[in-house]
């Protein structure tokens, strides 16, 4: 009869297993600290208006994705953040992008674009390393900012390469040309270069569209890893990518911001019909 005795000491007692309370991956946009605030931002390429009074918050240490069909203004919006448009005459900003907590309007006429670019890093669609060594590429941003002490530069270069998940692959060849790296490695190098000076925001303009799926996965993994340490704004055409890596998503169409919300919400149950049509592949 002993066989029928439940041995309590061995029985699993679910109530004793400590299960952490479920926490949402993302705080709601309302109460999370902000790194920047876009307020009624319009942008004109000469006479042509490309952005129409766009407003949204950029949350601190979160990944914000900008999605929308070609020509919707998402890249234009991203480029406003580091004043790329100032390179061409006739371009005009209206409204504000306020960098917080300082509350500096970075598209204000009195703010030097170079000053903005020192604080906000950018990575482009195609990897664009300098024709220099791997080390020099990452150190470049530090040198420009006046960091000269070798030990400090070494330390920051290593840290940046580690954060960009490239260190193990290049630590023995730091003095070799960056052009010897594969496309995916070059892109991670560009991210390391952007990360090295500890920017306040990093802008990624379709950073994986020129890469193969493996290299893309590595970049996504890297964004997921640093996504809670730095503020990232990413433009992507790949909606699954936006759904995977971002905390917040903004959908743009014809220069307007149609919807901004938690990524989860945008991709499962968006409020706007235009967003729904776009993410489900009903227009483009």
């Amino acid at each position: 009869m002993d066989d029928f005795t439940v041995k309590h000491s061995e029985a699993v007692r679910p109530h004793e297993v400590s299960i952490p309370a479920p926490t949402s991956r993302v705080d709601s946009a309302a109460d999370a600290p902000r790194r920047a605030e876009v307020k009624s931002l319009s942008f004109y390429y000469g006479d042509k208006q490309a952005l129409n009074a766009v407003s949204f918050p950029v949350l601190d240490c979160k990944v914000t994705a900008l999605i929308g069909p070609s020509g919707c203004g998402k890249s234009t919006l991203l480029r406003c953040f580091n004043r790329m448009h100032d390179l061409y005459p006739g371009n005009r900003y209206e409204g504000e992008i306020r960098l917080l907590p300082e509350d500096l309007n970075i598209v204000g006429g009195d703010v030097d674009p170079m000053y903005v670019r020192l604080r906000i890093g950018m990575v482009f669609q195609k990897p664009n390393p300098f024709p220099k060594s791997i080390y020099d590429n990452v150190a470049a941003g530090l040198w420009v900012r006046g960091v000269r002490r070798k030990a400090l530069v070494d330390e920051r270069v290593e840290l940046a390469l580690q954060r960009a998940a490239l260190w193990d692959e290049v630590k023995d060849r730091l003095r070799e040309s960056a052009y010897g790296l594969s496309g995916g490695q070059q892109q991670r190098l560009c991210i390391a270069r952007a990360l090295a000076p500890d920017p306040e925001i990093i802008l990624l303009d379709e950073p994986t569209s020129a890469l193969d799926p493996i290299a893309t996965s590595k970049i996504e993994e890297l964004i997921a890893t640093i996504g809670d340490q730095v503020t990232i704004i990413i433009v992507t055409h790949n909606m699954q990518q936006a759904a995977r890596i971002s905390h917040f998503t903004a959908f743009m169409h014809l220069g307007n911001m149609v919807e901004y919300d938690q990524t989860e919400k945008i991709f499962t149950n968006p409020s706007e019909k235009r967003t729904l049509d776009y993410i489900t592949g009903r227009f483009g």
């Binding site: 699954q240 499962t268 968006p270 993410i279 489900t280 592949g281 009903r282």
Partner: protein, 237 residues
Amino acid sequence: MTDHIVKAFDEDLREISSRLAEMGGIAERLVAESVDALVKRDTALAQRVIAADDGVDALQREIEEKSILTIARRQPMAIDLREVVSALRIANDLERVGDLAKNTAKRVLALDGEFHAPKQLRGVKHMADMVLQRLKQVLDAYGARDSERAMDVWRRDGEVDSMYTSLFRELLTYMMEDPRHITLCIHLLFAAKNIERIGDHATNIAETIYYLVVGEVLTDERPKLDTTSFTKVSLTR
């Protein structure tokens, strides 16, 4: 809803949806026939119900495969994703409905040659009619993507539970009155429980339709009126 840019995606979704409609039709028919077989003690009909359940199982597997393939191939988002996930869930519920109908049909075979008492069948039949009406309504609501009609079924599940509770008491009384009724009444009790569970599956389907249409998971507690688990029976009067 406008069509997708990729036409084959629309085809995939339509295919899943129409398979599900077909499955719903068969499940509904099996429930009706199993109860009919029980009321009329028709063993031939019961055999057919038992055999036809395989078809429901096959449809469930087919819907599951198509849904998984669609997720892998098209990476559906938002309403499309809910469409596929809902199909998976509803197919599961319908598969269980088929099993329950089959179980009732098996009891008809077990009762062959047993004491027949039409009076005691009346309650079961009445309850089955009610549940069948719910099942039909919820399947119509799925076809029309009508969350309101689905919620109507959800809200009224308590009525089925109450009816089951009173039927439970009634059958107990028959058994106490005359022990010759025990075999029949036990089988009827299980059949009634099957039917009550089919009602629960209809309610699950209603919740799924709400999720499909509204995009939010229903978190309200549904009214539970089946109290038979707590019912005490005193054999000493």
